[in-house]
Amino acid sequence: MYKTEPEVVRFLNEFDGALERGTIPMRAFNDAELHELELDRIFTRAWVFLGHESEIPARGDYVQRRIGRDPFVLVRSEDGEIRALFDSCRHRGAMVCRAERGNAALFRCPYHGWTYMNTGALAGAPLLKDAYGSELDKSKMGLYAAPHLESLHGFIFASLDADAPSLDEYLGDMKWHLDMIWGQCELGWEVIGEPQRTVLAANWKAPADNFSGDDYHTVYLHRSTTETGIMENPEGDSDLWDGYHVQLGNGHHFIRNMIPPDVPGPRFLGYPEEVQKLFSPSMLGEEQYEGLKQTVGLVGSVFPNFGFLSFPFKHDRSADFVATMSVRVFEPRAAGEMVAWTWTLCPKGVSEEFRRESYRTTMGTFSAAGTFEQDDSDPWMSITRAAGATYARKVGMQLDYRMGMNGTASSRRVDDYPGPGVAYYSVLEEGGQRGFHRRWLQFMRSDDYPPRMTPEEQNAGAGVAGRNGDG
């Protein structure tokens, strides 16, 4: 384990105290030492998203993916099992998979020719007997592999920590929400095309923080999209804030915009009837079916670096709003550098026409070229720039995360949320973001695998935020 230097310990203590007061020392968004510790304490332990089963439908299909900064091959092995193999030969460590995707029965190291089955097992090496005699036990020389890998509705997550809890346990109440989105389509969902990747001079936590409940930025940063009709322009500003913020514990967060049954409006995330027919109450039951039916849009984050988003948007100004679905990973590269990964998904079994329209509307709004997301990249980079500033450190500059903490603002904890979790209405509060950072702190400080964290514990110190609806 990475050694926790006294200076880092001191900083994490400062971070703890600051978060209790609803602020965060800006340094957390750009610091080389903290970043190294994050790679060790977060990315070798947390469950991280690697890809979707539809990307590797056949045995032998593989894609290259990252866990933290580390290279893995996500492969559907010959035995049907999906594995995340560490892309490094057991002999000298050279990479055994050099293409981003493909189909392979064997992975061959180019250096000395050690060859592995797509299960990771060592199949052979040149002159094995002459070179090693009986010293080399092939059965013990397979590629390293992530000890835990699980799939939820085709979404593949892995953890590098043997002590990690199950994915279900890690997701906690987020699972109910992921079920609601991706578990009600009888034919399942599929990724369209390949993920898009862009390198940004930004810390990975800037977008992770954004996906953890930052509705507040929408009306200003993305005002160009309401002015041009890409996003629905609410008649009064207040309509934009109607929605639930749902704290799910373990640092996960869910934003949900709903339309009651008696109010006309988009149903099922704005999917058209041909797609709505593919959702079925027989999959999960009436509650989640009705839940999806009344949901017009959502944004979610799974700690640490997985986000997803679905809203109806308009990419062609003369066309109708089109349902979109994207998921993304914020790959950490350095304290001030990340790669944004964007996948677009669609239910299986839709018409070619809708599939294409949904794809281009998704990529046209939320991707590197997206009319929304290109503007997000700007503050994500400038936050990182300022967080690295000497002056900001010298004065201990704090970022403000107090929205919704003191119970005086309009957002309230509510009991009528149709689903698990601790819900707030409206979305004008920042509890989800505080929860993300509280979980971050827990991972950074824990020598053992961090235990489950309840929504109340996420608000530790900022306790009023967890109770501000009680009065």
Binding site: E194, Q196, V199, E227, A369, Q374
Partner: protein
């Protein structure tokens, strides 16, 4: 995954030699278009597009040699028509298109022009190499977008218009934080 490197539809083409008036007419059009984009004259640029424009830039992934160049057949950075390009230009004209205000400084370098006529459509097809330099604010990281373009030009009301653009980028990871610019 498409293994094709160039045009999606196989059409009969006849090479137009460099130096011929038609060749220079195409080159002049593309240089004027590049100047409009470098000059942030987006309404002028829209005026150079054919109403039926098909504008796309596929995602590229690293593949083994035998699998071809790795251009996606379904995944695109841009998959645009005249309407969506208009939406993008309208948005840039608002006071809230932050990623491009202040605008990037861009310089488009176009070379290696090869012109053909396309029998079925009477379009002129221009293949060229593109190097797009971009910088913004006081960022000193080099931002380059490099690739091959395949452009079909069609006569409309006595002038050439861009009716199809396929941008085949050389990047599997984009070296620029966003695509707030046109390729």
């Amino acid at each position: 995954m498409s293994t094709e490197t160039e045009t999606a539809t196989r059409t009969e083409e006849a090479r137009i030699p460099s130096g011929s008036p038609e060749y220079w007419r195409c080159v002049d059009f593309l240089l004027d278009e590049a100047a409009a984009l470098d000059g942030n004259r987006f309404e002028d640029w829209l005026g150079m597009l054919h109403p039926e424009i098909d504008y796309r830039a596929p995602i590229r992934v690293t593949r083994e040699r035998a699998a071809g160049p790795g251009f996606s057949s379904e995944g695109y950075h841009f998959l645009e028509n005249r309407d969506s390009l208009q939406t993008r230009v309208d948005r840039l004209a608002t006071d809230f298109a932050w990623a491009e205000d202040p605008p990037s400084r861009t310089r488009r370098f176009l070379t290696n022009f090869r012109v053909c006529s396309v029998e079925e459509t009477d379009d002129l097809r221009v293949r060229s190499n593109m190097l797009l330099y971009r910088e913004r604010l006081d960022e000193t990281r080099q931002q380059l977008l490099v690739g091959k373009r395949e452009d079909d030009l069609r006569e409309l009301d006595g002038a050439l218009r861009l009716v199809r653009r396929l941008v085949l980028l050389d990047h599997s990871i984009l070296m620029t934080p966003n695509l707030g610019i046109f390729l």
